[in-house]
Amino acid sequence: MSLEPQEIVDLKSKIGREPTSTELQIVAAEWSEHCSYKSSKKHLKMLPMTGPLVISEKGYDSGVLDVGDGYVITAHIESHNHPSAVEPYGGAATGVGGVIRDILSAGTRPIAIFDGLRFGNIEKDPQARWLFKNAVTGIADYGNCLGIPTIGGEVEFDECYSNYALVDVAAVGFGKKENLIKNHANKGDLVVLMGGATGRDGIGGSQFASDSLESENRSAVQIPDPFIEKLIIEAILEARNHHLIKALKDLGGGGLSCALSETADTLGIGIEMDVDKVHTREPGMDPDEIMISESQERMLIITSKQKLKKLQEICKKFRIACSVIGHVTSGNLLHVKKGNKTFANISTEIVANAPLLDRTSKKPAYLETIQKEKKLRPISNFSKTMMALISSPNIASKIWVYGQYDHEVGIRTVVKPGQDASVLRLDNGKFLSVKIDGNPKHCYINPREGAIGCFEEACRNVVCTGARPIGMLDHLQFGNPENPEIFWTFLESLKGITDFAKYFKIPCIGGKVSLYNETPAGPIKPTPLIGVLGLIDKNSLISPKVEDEDCLIIIGDTKNELGGSEYYEYIHHFVGGNCPIVDFKESKRNMETVLHVIKKGIIKNAHDCSKGGLAVGAFELCMTNQIGCQISLDKVPGEKLDSDKILFSESHSRYLLVVEKKNFQKLETILQKNKVSYRMIGKFGGNKIQFNRGKKSLIDLSVDKAQKAWINSLRELVLNG
């Protein structure tokens, strides 16, 4: 139990008496950082959350966007960091389960999963390798069994995650607008708990997640059962079709305590329940345990007396347990009984609204000097450096990961994983493009600009598929907020994301804050993660194969921005330097131009420049298309820089376009008209990837050799160390 002394005083004064033990447990769960957002809530209000496509309904755990023709998509992001750091398989799997139920709660069918994974240095650290391998299997086993494709994500390794793991899972749902659950309830309605039995797993999970990870606390980790989750999905959707659900809520952090108090508070109702009616996994559980257990695969349904029978029939068909645990009352009390004995009787308004905190913030001292550049040893053999970079865990192909995820089930996946963003087809003929991006190396050096960069990168990826960004999910992951320096980095990132979202009119439709991401070795680097959803009207960008004589064009300026780059950190082991900064006007101009030329069908392919810079971006194009390219660095627009900086700078707002020779003129006219900084820098053909500066050959590698290293190195590393 983790209530602060002051919080206990507050609670007593609010209820005017001593709380019972069960009340204390309920309040402790709901007032935990994990459930209450008490450190962040005041500040999160700065994010723009409305827009022409945003549908707001009360009590939703996921964001809803209108995609036209009577259809909506829902989206949400969650993390399961603490559990995954202790038990990666179960932690990651239950992370998937939780976010899927958030999508289901709105009454939509989950259609895609995305995962963002972060671990320590897997080249040196066997523990990080073990965490990585098992988290991936956990996600695969859970998502695959559900028949929901895992179609995208990212994986990153950094020393700051040693002995720890960030497992972020985003999910997207799809459905008819008319089928959205409009949460409401009336006095006398029944409160039904459906799904898995309540057991002694995940006891106090939300409080465990609201503290630094110091000791292993296995009982706080939940046990996954994807089969039950699959049955719940089908049963809920069938019940939805029969209009049997008045209100719906997933049981996540804080278990019954949070689900009941939040539902009651949102709907302005009271709930009376009997813990003896809850179906449990083992006998003898006391009321406190039942109220805060975080056993998985459970849903709370409010239905009317008349519709209970039909609901029970559906549950019987799918052989999942459903118990009527209580009923709706007037007033706003959560009344927990065991038989006739009262264990808690407390205002849900108090439970669901933790006292919010004003955390102090202070700029961290390290930031004063971190952006200083350092003289680095010159590169004698760029081909060798390039091979090292494309085989490095952060840049190497993630096929070992997504090859274990069923990314085809549901038959919507138009653009498969491994591309800039994944694209799903929707029933109204439109396409949804989704990408999640984070960059803790940039965010460590500059929390504000780094966070903006993650946002812009996710937008670039989505734009490369021809989709216009329509919504954003943010997941803000930081260390202990009680440390003013950490809280400052949180605020800076949040302000940056807010500014970008407002400028580009991309509403935040959902998000999550995860704090206390620390081990005894210290906090993680600031790790905001941004998910961007984009919509393509009608025709999607099917990239035809890149062929001989096609031209490579770069859009956007390359600047001296290598702070936090893979080149500085992986090759030179240097943490510092100038963090890339997004120029909003340039960003917008470039984004609009790329969307325009894709829509006009002028280009064959668009790819963004991000990790590893221009060099890696061009290599990826060549390796995925199995074709060579001859590139001249002399023509790259931007500052006059040394060759290594042109190759590996991670400046934002840059795109690589592939255009057929005959269309170049057309493209050029548009680029000039839009005043976009661009140059044709190379020509495809042959089987060698070559970078030259003047007459000097810098990189000369065969596509086959590069491709082999890029595709196999991560698997080799996981399997053989």
Binding site: N144, L146, G147, R319, G403, Y405, G410, I411, K416
Partner: protein
Amino acid sequence: MNVGVVVFPGSNCDRDMFHVLTDVFNLNAQYFWHEKGLPNNIDAVILPGGFSYGDRLRAGVIAAHSPIIKDVQKMAEKGIPILGVCNGFQILVESGLLPGVLLKNNSLNFMCKWTNLVVENNSTPFTSQFKLNQKIPIPIANGEGRYFVDETTLKKLKKHNQIVFKYDKVVNGSSDRIAGVCNEDGNVVGMMPHPERAVESEINPIDNKPSSLIFESLLSTMGVKH
């Protein structure tokens, strides 16, 4: 013609298969919950992929004891075309309608990737429109997809022309690179790859025509013009 799509608890490709049958090939398709019986007016039965009973014990083994399997067996004896895809194949094997077993992939991992099949038998109701040795680009997605038979059974399979599809190269370590087999009569076919994921050009990055022939073969067997 009427095609029955059997749904078990945990089936997850049933809706995809239904979409392909109805929206792409204009067939009448109907779902049948595993506890129900199959009516007599069904012309073909498809067991779709998924994780019936969460793949507990072994993929397909619990579903093989579902009430509906008795009806599937009866229909198989009558010569009605029956296709099992992925988990459906595993269920047909576990229920004894097809020989062999499906083991964990050699990689010990779940594998989702595009493969190439080679047609080895073009006289089944699901392959009649293929040329022998024709290639089919098609995705797999399974953890227990390695088809295994002992040497004696393999000889028997060859003798009775029961090998329907092979992979063009080793994918998961299956016996003789087998990806799909049929019963001795040829009317019951099981395959690990997913044809329903390959028949629409929008989601097939290579070529959707070959896999479409699986469904067109069924239509032609039934005398329906597409």
